[in-house]
Amino acid sequence: MAILRVKDVSKRFGGLKALTDVNLNVEENSVHAIIGPNGAGKSTLLNCLVGKLMPDTGSVLFDNNSVLGLEPFQINQMGISRVFQTPEIFGELTVMENMLIPIFAMRDGAFRMHAYETIAKEKDIVEQAEAMLVEMNMADKREMHAASLSRGDKRRLEIGMCLSQNPRLLLLDEPTAGMARADTNNTIDLLKQIKDERDITIAIIEHDMHVVFSLAERITVLAQGTPLVEDAPENIRGNPKVREAYLGEAA
């Protein structure tokens, strides 16, 4: 069953057609990669899924509910978590607080005036956050300011924050962009581990073919705002159309 259905989505910016009639189904509990050359519309598509952009036409259904017109926080509350290209974390807060916030958001919803309670009294939430830090291998850094973490640790923390909400769909926007080889491999291992251990659907936008072919079960190639092919990784590798889109007609 497809958990995310994108149907006939188009988006224009002035004269530029960023997306044209994009159709895409992401199957539940799969890892689906969306690849494509620069300017293919990958980020625009992602922004249409999370409430940052409103498509001109078409529909986006998550678990048979439309997400169009909803605010990002509402879409998150439906069960979609997003990891950004550059890690978006609460830099001035401690690692532990970073982990507590998404768990509070899950339990209490988008707003709650819990101004007189103390955090330490919320034992369930503190325990969940601690367990997540252990899972992410960051328990020893819990009192550090998140801004002082290394790039790789910031990425781990962000993924951990998303996972702590038990999302049904995890969206990753070039999760290894700008990373060294070792950090990239660590991130791949972490994502593989997540995929194996959890009932979770992962949709990933990626440039790095190494990452894509190590993780994806299904790949959609986007070119000039429209899906070119959708297939299993082994069929994508040799596809002449994909080569053409990436390397130009001369190849």
Binding site: F73, N76, A110, F111, R112, Y116, T118, A120
Partner: protein, 401 residues
């Protein structure tokens, strides 16, 4: 204790003891000595310390936690004062309903202004709050003061007149603000030798109120709600994508700080039953920003320190005049004495703002964390010196062996 951790409980107790003993602490010099002008232990000034402390504590909940810099908080202070005086005019001189109404009205007023202003962030938010505050000032100063509808009494300021209804004012009740019969001006003076200490009812009412709201501020700082407010300051994008709606959080912080400001305004009117439009002017809004930054933005005790610091120097520096300076420097030769007085002259009396400006510049440049950071540096320096002193003797003894 009180649901706080050890450190916060310690802080609360220290602040409690200091405010309780303030009449002693602020009057260290004998009443007739030359240094007596540096005493700050008279009721009027002590009241202002704690009232502006409350104002700054509330401002810090908005600015320190969420990072939204409001330049219009004096409007809420003014609204609080007007509400309190209206309570005096209509009901009675009892301060409890007056203070309660000032908090409620300031809360409603800040809900309105916050709702509109918080549609923008950063500098645009600051400008919007400034515009609203200046509009409130104009309303209070002229628009809402005409023969047909006189809400604020314009330039003169709102005050209680003999023909006001005061429907609950008892026959024997004091004819000035009181707490169930205890006049706010009641002062007991204790003379010990050359020293003289004033214990003022109004000051102690303000001090008790400040302790309560300071405690509430600590609770807010340590609560999940406080953590969310710091998350607003840190990264709104991540907050939004974590399923949290940052708008009601910032609005709640705005209203809470507006209510603190209203409370301060109400107390001000309770100490002296008069409300003027100048309390809402932008300079008054700027002053609370200075207090918070000077003391230490986002720290618990910083705003109180900043408020005390500014109010103390405002009073002391503005009281010093050329005659005082001449008496200080009388030992110098005549020409030199005049020269020194000439140099210092612009920084005292009415020119004390110049001194404040220089102090503020020094703090912002060298102590971005405010007085609290200064205190931390001094205590670290002492710790290091102490550990250095521990090492030094061992270094000396070694060669002797």
């Amino acid at each position: 204790m009180f649901g706080l951790n050890k450190k916060d409980t310690g802080l609360l107790i220290i602040v409690g003891i200091l405010t309780l003993l303030a009449p002693f602490i602020l009057n260290p010099f004998p009443a007739d000595s030359a240094m007596a002008q540096f005493n700050a232990g008279y009721p009027d000034l002590m009241q202002r310390f704690v009232i502006f402390g409350i104002f700054a504590i509330g401002f810090n909940i908005l600015f320190g936690l969420t990072g939204y810099l409001s330049f219009g908080h004096a409007a809420f202070l003014g609204v609080g004062s007007y509400s309190a005086v209206w309570m005096f005019k209509l009901l009675s001189y009892n301060v409890i309903p007056a203070i309660a109404l000032s908090v409620v009205i300031a809360g409603l007023f800040s809900l309105l202004i916050g709702y509109v202003s918080l549609r923008r962030s950063g500098i645009y938010f600051s400008i919007l709050t400034l515009a609203f505050a200046q509009m409130s000032f104009a309303l209070a100063y002229s628009v809402l003061s005409n023969p047909k509808f006189n809400l604020t009494n314009g330039e003169t300021g709102l005050q209680v007149y003999a023909d006001d209804p005061q429907i609950l004012q008892g026959a024997n009740a004091p004819d000035l603000p009181h707490l169930f019969g205890l006049p706010m001006r009641a002062t007991y003076t204790l003379d010990i030798g050359a020293w003289s200490f004033d214990f003022n009812a109004g000051y102690y009412l303000c001090a008790v109120v400040m302790m309560v709201v300071f405690y509430l501020a600590i609770r807010i700082f340590r609560s999940p709600f406080g953590m969310m407010l710091r998350a607003v300051k840190s990264n709104q994008q991540r907050m939004n994508y974590t399923g949290l709606n940052s708008k009601p959080y910032t609005l709640a912080a705005f209203v809470i700080s507006g209510m603190y400001a209203g409370l301060a305004g109400g107390l001000m009117a309770a100490m002296d039953p008069l409300a003027g439009a100048e309390r809402m002017q932008w300079t008054a809004s700027g002053e609370v920003v200075l207090m918070t930054i000077l003391g230490g933005t986002g720290t618990l005790i910083g705003p109180v320190l900043g408020a005390g610091f500014i109010k103390y120097f405002e009073n002391i520096f503005s009281k010093i005049n050329d005659n005082v300076l001449h008496s200080w420097f009388a030992i110098l030769p005549d020409g030199l004495e005049d020269a020194v007085v000439f140099i210092i002259h612009p920084f005292i009396g009415k020119g004390w703002h110049l001194t404040l400006g220089i102090l503020f510049m020094l703090v912002v440049i060298y102590l971005p964390g405010g007085l609290v950071e200064g205190g931390q540096r001094v205590s670290n320096w002492f710790k290091r010196r102490k550990s250095g002193a521990d090492d030094a003797p061992s270094g000396k003894t070694e060669p002797a062996e």
